[in-house]
Symmetry: C2
Subunit: 280 residues, 2 copies
């Protein structure tokens, strides 16, 4: 089986590395960034490098789009147009609704699967790819009733072999949950980083005074700006709702601090601390 990775970075690269033990699979790569693609080949992430997207598609049984959402929306309909009936295309984009909307009613819609791997690090590029990145991690499959049952089953097999467990939900549900659980974390990290950098011009001071707590809280601000600027816009409506809810909560705590109501603050923090029962 020939698997084409479009976008051989952290996610695409980790997907092939996770499946390297499967001897029946061959991995091809296509990437606008020529250097990244050659690096991926050098690192053994892909077996074949393609210069033309058309050649790449002709060669493949399964096409994985592991690029930012905007790029996916741009090329997905065109690639779907030219598939033969046995080919499958899967996207690994971080938002799902606008992508699914872009191919609603497409005559080859059933050959497409919308997926989102809940895994990653703050690093990017093929050098950041890890063979164990998806072990025990969740792969969300969206609107699966619109995908061909057989193609879906064969892709599910592949995903499980890569280490994932699978969850299914609608694209809208996905985007709503992710806005709160993932996108909002990125917003707050970037904003915290910006606030501190603005007030503390001296990096030395930050380094000296930052406990591991600060480091952990701003870790996501190291993420890829091109990826996240797209996500914030693609999931604009839900992200803005998340920011609104966050601002309201921040205002509550702010008022408690203003009025020095220690027991209210204590209760508020105790409430927030329930998260430790959920995250191990």
């Amino acid at each position: 089986m020939n698997i084409l990775i479009v976008g051989v970075g952290l996610i695409g690269g980790s997907f092939t590395l996770s499946l390297k033990k499967e001897k029946s699979l061959r991995f091809g790569g296509f990437d606008k960034n020529q250097a990244a693609m050659l690096k991926a080949e050098e690192l053994g992430i892909i077996d074949e490098v393609f210069d033309s997207i058309d050649d790449a598609i002709n060669w493949s049984d399964v096409i994985i789009l592991a690029i930012p959402v905007k790029g996916i929306k741009m090329i997905l309909p065109t690639i779907l147009d030219q598939l033969n009936p046995n080919q499958l295309i899967v996207d690994f984009g971080s938002t799902k609704k606008s992508i699914c909307d872009a191919v609603t009613g497409h005559r080859n819609r059933s050959q497409f699967i919308a997926a989102h791997p809940i895994a990653g690090t703050e690093h990017s590029g093929p050098e950041a790819a890890l063979s164990g990145l998806f072990k025990g991690k969740n792969l969300i499959l969206c609107d699966t009733e619109k995908s061909d049952a057989e193609l879906l089953r064969s892709f599910e097999d592949l995903a499980v072999k890569a280490g994932f467990y699978l969850t299914k939900m609608s694209a809208s549900e996905h985007d709503r949950h992710l806005a709160y659980i993932s996108h909002l974390s990125h917003v707050t990290s970037y904003v915290l980083s910006q606030t501190v950098l603005d007030k503390e011009k001296n990096g030395e001071v930050i380094l000296d005074l930052a406990g591991s707590g600060f480091e952990s809280t701003v870790r996501l601000a190291k993420s890829s700006p091109s990826m996240w600027s797209t996500i914030f816009i693609e999931n604009k409506e839900m992200v803005l709702k998340g920011i609104e809810a966050y601002k309201e909560e921040l205002g509550k705590l702010e008022n408690m601090i203003k009025s020095e109501s220690e027991s209210d603050i204590f209760d508020y923090l105790e409430e927030g601390r329930r998260i430790r029962k959920i995250l191990k």
Copy 2:
């Protein structure tokens, strides 16, 4: 040398464990929480347990207050009253100005050192103490010109043996820097946790959808509510300034998302991402 730890939790306990190799030192413990103190003795964190604070003080050469700021402010002046000229008292509180203010002009002020170890985990209690917690970490000493030079030097020796490197600044400077670099991270983590818990009533969904990013960003929301409710109030003025600055930054990003100005968002995230050059 007899070292008394008042409050044998994460920080107090880690301090004695870091110095266990120094055979000339003996460690005593006093804690309102009898169970924690006995646990600390059982874990080998302290050699002697005291039931009376007066007995404990009479026994000691160096007294370390490793309790929340409010408690420190309450007992520090009284303990200073009863010290003989060779005894030293040090506090490890997380804010410094209100503590220093509480002993301004005290006749034994020179026998007090205001210190803040920039280290910790989200856990608390003697079970959480670690012998390596302070290795390569910063101990901030505040307003040191008000402490006796000889007592200061001998405490600095001890701190370096425990693994710390030392930084000196005024108590006000300390509180201003920490508001941005540490206290604000705690505010944003607790608020994020609260926002998500409020919108996602189903813990299972959070667990399934939370990548390591969310986990990292809300880690500090697992911290001790009693410690942090005190800190937020003790450093109220600076913490509120921090929240104000943060809200302003959040508003900027929110507006960029509203108007879908992708290149502005990109630039904003790229700016925030500079933090990666500072934190390794």
